[in-house]
């Protein structure tokens, strides 16, 4: 199949690196420019290969040249949505060619040709030929393909502009990729050495809580290492799309957590929130007094409005424990359109550090941006209440709505609120804040306070 190509073409050369010492020329890379682009087009002349600019034989050893790979494909079933997927294969297929190194993708490619390949008579034209054969073999829906290699500076510059425009379009689409668009989610067990019952669920709308890997990274990882810590979860039956509950995800987490956790809501901090290993970049925590949610990130050094710092909170809800009202998350998840959607998203958030608010500001609905206080605006429940009342935060509607439903309870709650305002004067100090607190009790009864805060006028510690 590759008789007229003077070097070997085979998957065994994947991962080949060419040392500077063994290299004839470098193409694109950190010291030059370059790009690659696959586009669906009309009237594609099948098998056509062109080299615009100097061929290898006209290049000087040790030099660096601009480099572009432009591929046009045509086929009855080909759609522009597939361009990105097909283009992603360029990295692998280029590396099949012995003596040709290819790293990364898009306008960040970095290629090298070995001296050995040049001596064997290898030309860029051969690379183009190999690619057109390999692509048709890999994707039978490609009916015709033409490959153009660019090495002339002005041509590559022009090509870069065109390519970048396409990448932007694709990224917009990728950001739009949502849980509904895919059939497969991923599970990640990378942190099980620290938290043996924790599994991360990674979906297009929810990155792993360490922030390091998203759905695309998981797809790549699974492909590179199918036996590795990242595995596929067929999405299967949707139990609750709003909360993000899926039958297969529940089954997977039950298996991988050794039965510790058997239900998980991907997009809620309540009910069955996603567990955490301890690696999370941020924590969402319920503030029961105001029926809202606070967010805090690892780098925030002060105390949260609950009166405890990030580290203490992290300790309470990490280690694979499922603690209602708390969920670990990545900063990127705060940019997700499904960010805690079952709980009301940003409409429920009533406190977050300024640093993260600034970094995700454009993802907070515009009408809410000045309604969410940061540590600069409020640092206690009392101050938050004052701030959100002044700024008419929608969470207030939740409180009054529940008041209408249960008028009696609301009256009581009002009373509690008044009392609590007194705490601010310094007579009462918070003694314990815990997401779950078990109080010893007799008579075969166990009393559990959820999201408990214990205040006392005086704490006496006596030696027995």
């Amino acid at each position: 199949m590759f008789e007229d190509i003077p070097v070997d073409v085979s998957p065994m050369y994947e991962g080949e690196r060419i040392r500077a010492a063994n290299m004839f020329v470098e193409l694109a890379g950190p010291k030059s420019i370059g790009a690659e682009l696959v586009q669906v087009a009309e009237n594609v002349e099948d098998g056509k290969v062109t080299v615009v600019g100097p061929e290898l034989s006209e290049m000087t050893k040790g030099e660096i040249y601009p480099f572009g790979i432009k591929i046009e494909i045509q086929g009855e079933k080909l759609e522009t949505e597939l361009e990105g997927v097909i283009e992603r294969r360029l990295h692998e297929l280029c590396n099949y060619v012995k003596g040709f190194m290819h790293l990364n993708q898009r306008d960040q490619i970095w290629c090298r040709v070995s001296t050995e390949a040049l001596e064997a008579g290898f030309k860029l034209e051969h690379l183009a030929k190999a690619l057109s054969v390999l692509f048709k073999e890999e994707f039978p829906i490609i009916e015709s393909i033409s490959v153009t290699i660019l090495t002339q500076k002005e041509e590559v510059e022009q090509f870069l502009d065109l390519a970048r425009e396409q990448y932007t379009h694709r990224d917009e689409r990728a950001r739009e990729l949502s849980d509904e668009d895919v059939d497969v989610f991923y599970g990640c067990l990378m942190c099980q050495s620290f938290a043996p019952t924790h599994m991360c669920v990674v979906t297009p709308d929810r990155t792993a809580l360490c922030g390091a890997i998203n759905w695309f990274d998981c797809r790549a990882a699974y492909k590179m290492d199918p036996e590795g810590p990242i595995f596929e979860i067929e999405k299967g039956e949707v139990i609750d799309a709003d909360k993000g509950e899926y039958a297969n995800v529940n089954a997977a987490i039950a298996e991988k957590s050794q039965g510790t956790v058997d239900r998980v809501y991907v997009h809620s901090a309540f009910g069955y929130p996603h567990t955490s290993c301890g690696c999370f970049e941020a924590v969402a925590f319920y503030i029961p007094e105001l029926d809202g949610i606070g967010l805090v990130n690892r780098d925030f050094r002060g105390e949260t409005p609950l009166g405890i710092p990030f580290s203490a909170m992290a300790g309470q809800c990490s280690g694979g424990k499922q603690v209602e009202g708390f969920t670990g998350m990545s900063l990127e998840y705060m940019r997700s359109p499904k960010f805690l959607q079952a709980d009301g998203g940003y409409g429920r958030v009533i406190w977050m550090p300024k640093e993260i608010k600034d970094s995700v500001l454009e993802f907070i609905p515009e009408e809410l941006r000045d309604k969410i206080p940061t540590e600069e605006d409020a640092n206690s429940i009392k101050e938050i209440r004052k701030f959100i009342r002044e700024h008419e935060h929608p969470v207030l509607e939740r409180i009054s709505a529940s008041a209408e439903e249960e008028p009696e309870e609301a009256a009581e709650e009002e009373e509690v609120e008044m009392e609590e305002s007194d705490f601010g004067e310094g007579q009462f100090v918070p003694v314990v804040t815990a997401p779950e607190l078990t109080v010893p009790a007799g008579g075969g009864v166990k009393i559990i306070f959820k999201n408990a805060k214990v205040y006392a006028e005086k704490v006496i510690i006596k030696r027995k």
Binding site: M12, Y13, G15, E16, R17, R19, A20, A21, N22, P30, G84, H91, K98, L103, N104, Q105, R106, Q108, W110, Y167, R170, D171, E172, R173, A174, R175, L177, C188, M190, C191, F194, A208, C210, G211, A212, I213, F216, D217, R219, A220, A221, M224, D225, G228, P229, C277, G278, C279, F280, E281, R298, L331, E332, R335, S359, V360
Partner: protein, 262 residues
């Protein structure tokens, strides 16, 4: 585990360990120098956050693996990674960028230790990427971090030959002994585990030979104290420039012959 593409022969991975300040880096840089003379593809890895292998090899460092790791974490947190790109490829590129390439050898500097936060994912990716990168070389020399951590973290478990360097100090020899014991305990089976005695005064040679005979690691070479090395160290001259006929280079050359041909 590693495979060299061109001839299909496994690469040799040599790690140099020992207590800090015993001459690990001198042995590593001289090993690199000698192996580079064979014309094969040599990768030197500086795995000691506190080491000076780059200085000993006389090459400047622009970016370490640690820098790359931090950069990626920062970009990820700030949301600067294009939605359609995946981090493996970006990391792969950045690691290649951090490799310092010279005609005789390439150098990868691991650099600073991790900061706070989670490094599980990025380290997992790095392990794979460095494994792939390493498979392109005929021989790899790792200057490990001082002490024993590289064993307990199993960063040296694929090593073929472990050279433990010690000076005549009691604590240096103790560390060497512990490295031998810990390797056994953790069931890390180096194909070969050798001891190198460095900075030996002629009059102490006999006593030292007896002393190290008891620690259960084969002594593969003994390097006498050398005025030239002190001179290079004082002036900050790269040790790789030590002349081939100087005594330390000749001794390490004998060590290379022994470890690669036995």
């Amino acid at each position: 585990m590693v495979n060299k593409f061109i001839n299909g022969v496994d690469a040799v991975i040599i790690a140099v360990s020992g207590k800090g300040g015993t001459g690990k880096t001198m042995v590593s840089s001289t090993l690199v120098k000698l192996l580079a003379q064979t014309g094969k593809d040599i990768l030197a890895i500086d795995a000691d956050p506190d080491s000076n292998l780059p200085e000993a090899l006389g090459v400047p460092v622009e970016k370490t693996v640690g820098d790359v790791r931090e950069e990626l974490k920062k970009d990820t947190a700030a949301g600067n990674i294009p939605a359609g790109a995946n981090k493996w490829d970006i990391l792969d590129y950045k690691i290649m960028e951090s490799v310092i390439e010279t005609p005789g050898f390439d150098l990868l500097v691991m650099g600073r230790p991790e900061g706070s936060g989670c490094y599980c994912a990025v380290n997992n990716m790095l392990r794979k990427i460095i494994e792939t990168l390493s498979s392109n070389y005929d021989a790899i020399v790792i200057d490990t971090e001082a002490g024993l951590e590289h064993l307990s973290r199993r960063t040296t478990q694929n090593v073929d030959i472990m050279l433990v360097v010690t000076d005549p100090s009691h604590r240096g020899i103790l560390t060497a002994q512990r490295i031998g014991e810990l390797a056994k305990e953790l069931e890390i089976n180096f194909k070969k585990l050798y001891l190198v005695l460095n900075r030996v005064k002629k009059e102490d040679e006999e006593e030292l030979r007896n002393k190290v005979a008891e620690i259960g690691i084969d002594l593969v070479g003994l390097i006498y104290e050398d005025a030239l090395i002190s001179e290079y160290d004082m002036e900050g001259k790269p040790l790789i420039e030590l002349p081939d006929d100087s005594y330390p280079v000749k001794t390490v050359s004998e060590i290379v012959d022994k470890i690669l041909n036995s």
